[in-house]
C-alpha cells in the first residue's frame, strides 16, 4: 500500500474484520504505534486529533484515555480502537504493558485473532529481552495467538539491520522455548510512521508494512470444519415446542443432522435451524442460531448440542491464569463457566507455576494475581472434555469467586484425566 492512499473510516464494512491486540513492555512505544496506525490510516477524526498538531505530536495521548492514566502516564486498562483499510476493518484491543496488569493482556488476547508485540530496538542489548516482553510472548503462546513482532524505534538505532537481526535472534530463542511458530518481524518507527502504514527508510527491508501484515493475517482460523459444539444459552418456548438458542462455537449444523445432546450425550436429530427467526439450510461456527429437535429431549440451559464423538469429563488438567487480587484458597470451590454451563469446581492441586521471566516451571502450592499455572481441576457436573488447542471455543473456561463475584481465573484444558 503506498503512502498516498486515503483510508476512509470503515470503508469496507461489508468486508472481513480482523481483531488484534497490541502488547509489549512499558515504554516500548505501543501507544504511539497505535496512534500512528489510527492517524496514518486517516481514521482519526479531526476533533479527536485536536491538540495533536505540530512537530512532536503526542500519539500516545490518543489511546491513554482516562484521566487517571494521563496523570500517571501509563495505560491501566484495555482500550478498544477501530480503523479500516480499503480491504479490511480492524478492532484493536490495546493491552497495557505494566506488569501488574497482565490480566488485561489475557483478556485482550482471548478476543483477538492475532497479537502485535512491540519491542524497543534501542533497549535490547546483548540480545536480552525484557521480562515483560517474554511474559507477553508466553501469554500469546498460551492462548494460541498468531504473532507479529514490531521492532520499534528503529530511527533511534539508525535503522541498523544488525540490531534488527539481533532482536530477531533473541526473540527466536524465546519463541523456540514457547513453541511459537510462523512469527512475522517488521522494523518500524511509530514516532515517524515508517513501515506502519507507509513504507519506511530502510533500504535493506523489502517485506510488508505492519498494516499489510495485519491485512494478511487471517481471521482466527475458522472452526467450521471441527466437531460441532453448540452450547445452549436459553430455551425458548414457542407453540408448545422447545427451541434451543445459542452460538455455534465450532462445526456446522443443518436440518436432518444426527447430534448428541446434554451431558448424557443422548442422540437426537435436528428438525430446523433458524437465524433471526427464519429457517436456514446450514449454519457454521460463529453464527447465533436457534435449533428445533425432532425428538423431545431433556436438554436445558447450559447443555450442549454436539457431534457423535463428544466426550465429557469430571477431572481435567488445565493451564490457569490467575486474575484475581485475592490469591487462590485451596479449600474454596469456585464457579466454573464453560460455554453456557456454570458449575462448581475445585482446584485439586497445582502441578507447577510457569516463571515467565525464565520460562521455566517451578513447583508451587499457591496461586496469586498474574500467576500462570498448570493445575488439576474437578467439576461437580460433567464438562466437555475438549482440548483448547483443538477446540478453543469450548476448551476454554473461566472461574468466578462465589463470594466476591470477581472473575478469578482463565483456564485452558490441556489433558483429560477422567
Amino acid at each position: 500500500m503506498d503512502g498516498g492512499a486515503i483510508f476512509r473510516p470503515a470503508a469496507n464494512w461489508s468486508g472481513e474484520q480482523v481483531r488484534f491486540m497490541t502488547a509489549g513492555s512499558v515504554d516500548d512505544g505501543k501507544s504511539t504505534l497505535i496512534g500512528r496506525l489510527l492517524l496514518d490510516s486517516k481514521s482519526l477524526l479531526t476533533d479527536q486529533a485536536a491538540g495533536l498538531e505540530g512537530e512532536d505530536i503526542d500519539l500516545a495521548a490518543l489511546t491513554d484515555g482516562l484521566e487517571a492514566e494521563r496523570a500517571q502516564g501509563i495505560t491501566i486498562d484495555v482500550a478498544y480502537r477501530y480503523f479500516a483499510t480499503p480491504r479490511t476493518s480492524f478492532i484493536i484491543a490495546d493491552a497495557p504493558g505494566h506488569e501488574q496488569y497482565t490480566r488485561n493482556m489475557v483478556t485482550a488476547a482471548s478476543v483477538s485473532d492475532v497479537v502485535v508485540l512491540v519491542i524497543d530496538a534501542a533497549r535490547v542489548e546483548h540480545g536480552v529481552l525484557k521480562p515483560q516482553t517474554r511474559r507477553h510472548a508466553a501469554v500469546a503462546a498460551l492462548m494460541g495467538l498468531d504473532l507479529i513482532v514490531a521492532v520499534n524505534k528503529m530511527d533511534l538505532v539508525g535503522w541498523s539491520q544488525e540490531r534488527f537481526d539481533e532482536v530477531r535472534t533473541a526473540f527466536g530463542d524465546v519463541a523456540g522455548v514457547l513453541g511459537l511458530r510462523d512469527i512475522a518481524f517488521v522494523p518500524v518507527s511509530g514516532k515517524r510512521g515508517d513501515n506502519i502504514v507507509r513504507r519506511g527508510e530502510a533500504p535493506w527491508y523489502e517485506g510488508p508494512t505492519l498494516v499489510e501484515l495485519l491485512e494478511q493475517a487471517p481471521a482466527r482460523a475458522s472452526h467450521a470444519a471441527s466437531p460441532l459444539r453448540l452450547p445452549v444459552q436459553v430455551v425458548l418456548r414457542h407453540g408448545g415446542g422447545r427451541l434451543y438458542a445459542g452460538r455455534i462455537e465450532s462445526g456446522a449444523i443443518r436440518p436432518g443432522d444426527r447430534v448428541r445432546v446434554g451431558p448424557g450425550a443422548v442422540e437426537a436429530s435436528v428438525a430446523q435451524v433458524r437465524v433471526g427467526g427464519a429457517g436456514v439450510a446450514r449454519a457454521e461456527a460463529g453464527a447465533s442460531v436457534t435449533i428445533e429437535l425432532t425428538e423431545d429431549r431433556d436438554l436445558d440451559r447450559g447443555g450442549v448440542i454436539a457431534d457423535g464423538g463428544v466426550r465429557y469429563a469430571r477431572r481435567v488438567v488445565a493451564d490457569l491464569c490467575w486474575l484475581d487480587e485475592h490469591a487462590w484458597t485451596p479449600a474454596r470451590r469456585y464457579r466454573l463457566r464453560q460455554g453456557a454451563l456454570e458449575t462448581q469446581a475445585l482446584i485439586e492441586g497445582v502441578r507447577f507455576v510457569r516463571d515467565m521471566g525464565t520460562l521455566e516451571n517451578a513447583p508451587a502450592s499457591a496461586l496469586k494475581l498474574n500467576d500462570i499455572a498448570n493445575v488439576q481441576i474437578a467439576a461437580r457436573d460433567p464438562i466437555l472434555g475438549d482440548l483448547f488447542t483443538e477446540l478453543p471455543g469450548t476448551g476454554a473456561f473461566v472461574l468466578f469467586d462465589p463470594e466476591s463475584n470477581q472473575t478469578a481465573a482463565a483456564g485452558m484444558i490441556r489433558e483429560i484425566v477422567e
Binding site: 477524526l45 484515555g65 478498544y80 490480566r103 460455554g339 478453543p392
Partner: protein, 320 residues
Amino acid sequence: MRLAYEFGDALMGGEAFQAPALQTATTRLDRLEAEAVYILRELAFYERAALMFSGGKDSAVLLHLALKAFAPARAPFRLLHIDTGHNFAEVIAYRDARAKEAGLPLIVREVEDSIRRGSVRLAGPNASRNGAQAVTLLEAQQEFEFDALIGGARRDEEKARAKERVFSHRDAFGAWRPRAQRPELWGLYNRHIGVGENMRVFPLSNWTEADIWAYIARERIALPSLYYRHARDVVRRQDLLFPVTDLTPAAESEVVERLVVRFRTVGDITCTCPVESDAANAEDVLIETLGATVSERGATRMDDRANAAAMERRKLEGYF
C-alpha cells in the same frame, strides 16, 4: 410521523424475515450481529432486565437485534426510557409506535419528576438535562428492581467508553469503577451481581457509527425522519448549528437560517445539533459517515465538549 422505511419484517411471526441461506458470520456485519445476539441471549440469566429505548438509532438497532435474538418467542425485556422532557415530539411518537409494534411493555420515567422530588436541581430552566438522566435512571432502576440494563452505547463513541466492558458491573450507587472492572474472556461473561447491584450490558460495544448505518440499511430498520434530510430553522453558534425550537429560541442578535439538515444523534433538544446534509436514507447517511471528518459526539453534543474527561466523570456518577 413519517417513517423512512415501512416495517417490512414480521420478526415475531418468525417466518417472513429473509435470512441468507448460509450463515458464516465471517464478514463484518454478520460477525457483529451474531455477537450482539449472543450477548442479548446472555441476558436471559437475569430476572428483571430492561432495554434502554429512547427512539434513537442505536436503541432502534438494539431493539431489532433483541427481537431477532429471541424470535419466534418474545424477548424477555421491558423497554425503559428516561425522558428529559426535552425530546423531539416526533422521536417520542416513534418510540411509542415502535414499542407497541414490538409488543414489549414500555416504561417511561421523567427527569421532570426527579426535579419535582428535589433529587435533581438544574442550574437554570433551560439547562441541559442530560446529566440529570443518571439520577432519574437510578430512581427507575430502584423502583422496578431492574438487575440488568441494556444500552446501545458503542466503544467508538468516546474515550471512556473505549474501556468499557460488555458486561459492566455497577455498585448499588450505579457507579462505574474502572480499576475494579472484571476481566472479560472469550465471551464467557461474568453475569453475577450482589444484592442491590446491577449490570449494564452493551451488545453494540464493537460497532462503529458506520456499522450502525450499514446495518440499518441492510435490515431496513425504520427511524424517526429527522435522522434524514429535512428543512429546519437553525442558528450558527461557534462552528455548530443549533435548532431553533420553542425550547431553544434564537437570541435577538442571531440570524435564523432555514437549512437542509439531518441529526446524527437525537438526544435532549438543548444539546443536540443537526448537521447540513442531503442524505435521504440510510445508504446516503452511510456514505456521508464514511467520509466524516468530525466524530459523532463532537459534532453534535455540547455536553461532551465542556471537558475532555466529561464522559468519564459522568460515568463515575452513574451515567449510562
